[in-house]
Amino acid sequence: MDGLIDTAPCGILLADDASLILDANRTLADALGYSLEALRGKEVRTVLARGARIYYQTHVFPLLRLRGEVHEIYLSLRTAGEEDLPVLLNAVRREHDDGPITEIAVVPIERRSRFEDEILEARRAAETASQSRARFLSMLSHDIRSPLSAIAFSADLLARGAFGPVTEAQTRELGQIASAGRYVLRLVSDVLEFSRLETGRVDVCPVRVDVAEAADAALALVAGQADGAGVRLERPDAPALTAWADRDRLLQILVNLLGNAIKFTGAGGRVTVTWSASPDHVAVHVEDTGPGIAPDRQAAVFAPFVQDDAAPADGSVGLGLAISRELARAMGGDLTVESAPGEGATFTVALPHPPAA
């Protein structure tokens, strides 16, 4: 081959339809460890790794015949020293005066090939991890949740004297067993719910929901917690608004947001629920007078298993906001936060407008 092509920074090889090598450039001959004279007249398969011979015959050859070209094929060549040389291959089969000739260009990709091996290995590891996770969740569901329910239920029955009289001290202890059991149960349920949400296996049934009614229901559910924490709940009068949402799921989100707000605001603080509408969506805002969230933490609060260092230790596993946001998204909406340190935080649940009747 002439000078430029002979030393081009890629291997070039010409073969006839009988797969005999007609010519090659020096770059390829050097990479394979053959002299040019030794390469000419060899069969293409002799410079392919054995696995590559099958791949060439079953994939590359048919494509060359049917379409006349192949691109970006990963193959291993076999050098004169019996070493594998991974390459990326492009080839074109063209008519010439003496019959069709296949022109092949290869670029060695040893480092890239190792890198790809690592990626594939990582993918396999991720797939294995994902299977382990599924087994773990199934174990949580069946092997932990069911006995926990039984423990809490039996403790309740004993405390109520269903199996004979119990002393006051026994009732107190049994109550603790039951409430501790229910508490762990709730944590397990959170983990399971989040994993269902993550894999898109949660059904939401949107209907027309009166936002004021849902807000009042949520406020009623957290009134006791607010009293205990010395936090004032406010719900200013506002025009009626209808959202397109699954009422139970909206309630779950609002209770979670209100619970968090009460927890972080502390005694003497205030938590306010308001709502608004824009052309795109209906929004419910939960605003607190707590310490606020630094800008660089605002994305992290929605990440699963993240718990702010400043959070009062309540044993939660930090899935509440992650679950709430997934639920809002499952309903076609979203959950966002606006906050500045020292100025409280406002969480906003955006929901679709009801479809036109």
Binding site: A18, R50, R53, I54, Y55, T58, F61, L66, E72
Partner: protein, 273 residues
Amino acid sequence: MNDARARFNVTETGRGQRPMVFAHGFGCDQTMWREVAPAFEADYRVVLFDFIGAGGSDTSAYDPERYASLSGYADDVLAICRELGLEDVVFVGHSVSAMIGILASLRDPGRFRSLVLVGPSPCYINDPPYVGGFEREDIEGLLAMMEKNYGGWAQAMAPVIMKNPDRPALAAELEELFCATDRDIARDFAAVTFLSDNRDDLGEVEVPSLILQCTDDAIAPDAVGEYLRDRLPHSTFRKLRANGHCPHLSHPTETTEVIRDYLAADPGAPWTA
């Protein structure tokens, strides 16, 4: 889905009565027969199909357990024959499908009139003194290569196909041929194909067969064809001038003529009398 026609993307042509079923090999689909099958349309009812995972087949019908051995594929051939009401079948199988046809004939010998085996091999792995042509590591190398290629296969092909607007039919055909090949199924199929050993089944075969041995076939070398010739009862051995592993693509005229000659002698007549 119970309809074999849809499940296996069955194509039926031809004006004859006797069915001639063409089965593609690993890495391809029924398109591979396009230079050979039409030559038999005048005299046969020509049936083409794609195995599950290839071409236009219904990949949702894939079941790793069913296809953990070649017998799952042989059952598919029989299912197609039954559902299409094919009797006295001339079965033409390329590469691994040659062995699939042999297995199908063992299960239901009365269904087949003759088997045409293109580039067959009962075992690809060397097992001294048997020479299959490959070691287990070679097959592992193939699987690794497939994994790296199939990752970007469809994406790599699509833009090239787009560059061929003047040949839309060809582009569509290729899209069918390779882009639709499911990566995981192709990998399983490769493993089952190249790690199978069906040597012990050969002696039981009752249906007459034609062995087409290519010249310089990197996948099924001469020694393999000769092994089959010596052990497959009622077989006829023909060495093709065609070199490589896909004579139906590279040398369709010779391939067609050799098959036609063999069928002209009406093999199988005593077996169905």
